[in-house]
Every structure is written in structure tokens, then in C-alpha cells.
Symmetry: C2
Subunit: 243 residues, 2 copies
């Protein structure tokens, strides 16, 4: 474990080094997804399981919002809820994700029921919500820093999927377009907050640990998908079975 | 979803049917483990990850103990803490599991540090502790009912591992011997409690859901091991690497 206090710049460098080693753009399932090596049922399984992550992000952000001490911080964080929940029915990130699962031919009621979810997806997503509820506000904010790395993965994913899958259209992937501007705005704020407020060795350790934890959440979601839907015979009892 | 109230006997039959379909003795990794198809490093990975489950069981039981309404119930549940934590240093189930990881040549401090844990293991185990904290006492007690099925898996595991692995001895597997009597005692109590107290359709639904949830915890722990340690190249960043 580290024992020297880092400058804000060195802390940022260590955070970026964690992303360079642990962000899920390096996961074999992500590469298979955007290289076009998956079939429609496997892409459906990805979208169905990822839906639970998308649908839980507002719960995660509301959990953190409820713990933030100032109006300025709450206003900043409230924007994330607006991005995901929208201002009217059918708007916002969660609705756009359902538009994606619709476009892949999944029954919306089945997706929303979460019945076909992999247990590994459920546990990873809920670990994220619990982390934000139970850890320090500083660690909770730091756990959002995977968004530092998301513009790259989003552009890889969108271009790769459009190029490689005839069952996917630009419209189906509409979820990702606003994320390309929202994610950098959000991660700029979170990074500046973390660099300003992680002022002790323990706080910096907690911040680096929070980002490692969050990378583990995203990584293990792809582990569960790769295990269940790429190797035949591994779909756990009760989970979604592509038709 | 079911809508008819079940007799206690039909409820027990449905609980046993869940075990027959979802208990992890059916998992490919369990079969590989006890059929002797794993190498020493893979068995080490199993023991290292399973340690976090063992070490968290007393936390799970203490969490439930704190929510039980009567002295009689608390006395009953306290026995589980005694089984796992023992009455003196070096006694109890957690210490016996460390004896197993010692016997497999794992460094005890490394095992206890949890540094090499798979994220999938961590999230599944913590989901169990959170479930017992957050759901009804009835559902929390029902989630322990996987022990109805554990004597079979323990005898399969012990005989299979002794027969197939020259690096494993009866002494290394000492953890399992007392479980053969403790698990039936505990599950008899939990089953009787659930049959007596699940008196509405909603309560019976919650009880059946709790056992499915718990089967998912155990199953997804083996998914994570099978994915990371059986297929080459899948060990996630930061997790245990067999030497």
C-alpha cells in the first residue's frame, strides 16, 4: 500500500493508470462485442444485463445526492439524475437504453422485469449502489471516475457495432450520443473535486481504491456475460436464453 | 408468479425443487473440482475465494441475530456464530478454512488480506450479507436454506478431492467434517421456521425468492472461478495468479 502523500497531479496520474490497466475496454467481451464477433442473442444478453446497470444509475446518484452537504454540490449532482431520468416520459438515458433493447428485439416488459438477469450482473450493480451509500462522500464521488475513460469505449463501441452488425442502427444506439458530452462534463467535475478534497494519505488511498472497485464492477459484469453467453452450456438457471 | 397459497408441505416441496434445479452441486466448476480435473493453482483459487464467503458468514449471522425478536430465536441463531467463530483462537469454521488454505500452500496473510479476491466473489458474498440486512427476517432465514442441500455436496467434494488430488489430505479438509452435522441441524430449524411463518402468498413468494437468490450467490461464485481460472487469459486485473 502507498504511504506518501501525492500531489493532485500525481493523484490524477495514478487514477488514469488504474483506468489504463483495469477499465473494461480491455475486457475480451468488449473486444468481441465491438469487433462483431457476437451473434444477435449475445448482443441481446449484453443489452438486457446492461439495462440493470443503466436503470440503477439514477438510484446510485440519488443515494449520493442525499448525502451531499451543499446546494452547489447537489445542483451539480442533480444534473446526472436529469440526464438519466429525463424531463418527461420517454426521455433520458434509461428510456434511451430501453430504445436500444427494443431495437434488438427484446420484449420491454421482460427487460424491465429483470427476470432474465445474470446473478453476477445483479450483484455487481448492487455493490455499486451500496458502495455509494456506505462509503465516504469522497470515495463515492471517486467511484464515478470511470467516466474519465468512457468516451473512448463509447466511440469504439458505436462505430464497431454499426460496422459489424446489420441488426443495429444509428437510431438503436442513440443512447450513446449524449453520453459523449455528458460523461466528460461529469468526470471533469468529479476529478477536480477528488483532487481538491483527497488531502491525506488515507483519503487518497480511499479514492484510488474506489476507482479500482468501480473498474471491478464493470469488469465483472463482462466476465459474467462472457462466461454465460460465449461458452456454450454456461447460462445459469433462470437467466435469459436467446431464442 | 404464483398466486395460490401453498400448504407447508407444498412449500417445502417447492423449496426442494429450487435446490434440485439451482444448487451449485450442478455447476461445471464443482464437478471439475471434485472429479479431479483442476490443478493445484485452480484449487487454490477456489479456496482463496471461498475464504471470503466463510469469513463473511459470521457477519451475515450477526446481522440477522441483531434483527431477531426473541431470546429463543437469538439463542438458536447464536449457535451459528459459535460454529463459525469458535470458542477460542484457532477454533471454529473460519479458522478451519484457513487451515485448508494453509494446507494448499497459500500465504495466510495474503488470504486474509482479500487482495487476490475476484470482484465477482466479493460482490456475491456482500450481496448475501446485504440481503440479510435489508429483507424481512423471514426472507433472511429462508436464504440460509441452501444448507438443506449441503451434506450431499460436502460428501461429494471431500471424497472426490481426497481421491483425486495428492496435494489434499483428510486433515486439510477438516473444515467439512463438523458441517455434516451442523448444516442439517441448522437447516431443520430454518425449514420449520419458514413453513410455520410463511402464511401468505406474498410471504411464500419471498421465501422462494430468497432461496433462488441464495442459490444465485453460490452459483455465481463458481461462475467467476470457472471463468477466471479455467479458461486461460481471463484472470481479472489484480486477482490471484497461481504461481
Amino acid at each position: 500500500m502507498r504511504d506518501a502523500l501525492l500531489s493532485p497531479e500525481s493523484l490524477e496520474a495514478e487514477l488514469r493508470a488504474i483506468g489504463a490497466e483495469r477499465y473494461h475496454n480491455l475486457h475480451p467481451f468488449h473486444r468481441a462485442l465491438h469487433d462483431g464477433r457476437l451473434n444477435r442473442g449475445q448482443v441481446q444478453a449484453w443489452a438486457l444485463n446492461r439495462y440493470y446497470y443503466q436503470a440503477s444509475i439514477p438510484a446510485k446518484d440519488a443515494t449520493l445526492l442525499a448525502r451531499l452537504p451543499t446546494a452547489a454540490l447537489r445542483r451539480e449532482w442533480r444534473r446526472r439524475l436529469e440526464d438519466h431520468d429525463g424531463d418527461a416520459p420517454g426521455t433520458g438515458g434509461v428510456a434511451r437504453w430501453l430504445h436500444l433493447t427494443d431495437g434488438l428485439g427484446l420484449d420491454r416488459a421482460y427487460v424491465e422485469s429483470l427476470e432474465g438477469l445474470l446473478p453476477g450482473t445483479r450483484f455487481a450493480v448492487e455493490a455499486y449502489v451500496h458502495f455509494v451509500r456506505d462509503r465516504t462522500v469522497l470515495a463515492a464521488i471517486a467511484s464515478s471516475l470511470t467516466e474519465l475513460f468512457s468516451p473512448t469505449i463509447i466511440s469504439e463501441r458505436v462505430s464497431g457495432m454499426l460496422r459489424n452488425y446489420d441488426f443495429i442502427t444509428q437510431d438503436t444506439l442513440a443512447y450513446f450520443t449524449p453520453r459523449l458530452t455528458q460523461a466528460p462534463r461529469d468526470s471533469d467535475f468529479a476529478l477536480a473535486y477528488v483532487k481538491e478534497h483527497a488531502r491525506t494519505v488515507e483519503q487518497q488511498r480511499a479514492v484510488l481504491g474506489a476507482l479500482k472497485f468501480k473498474c471491478g464492477v464493470l469488469w465483472s459484469m463482462l466476465d459474467a456475460l462472457d462466461y454465460a453467453y460465449v461458452t456454450p452450456g454456461n447460462i445459469p438457471p433462470g437467466a435469459f436464453r436467446p431464442s
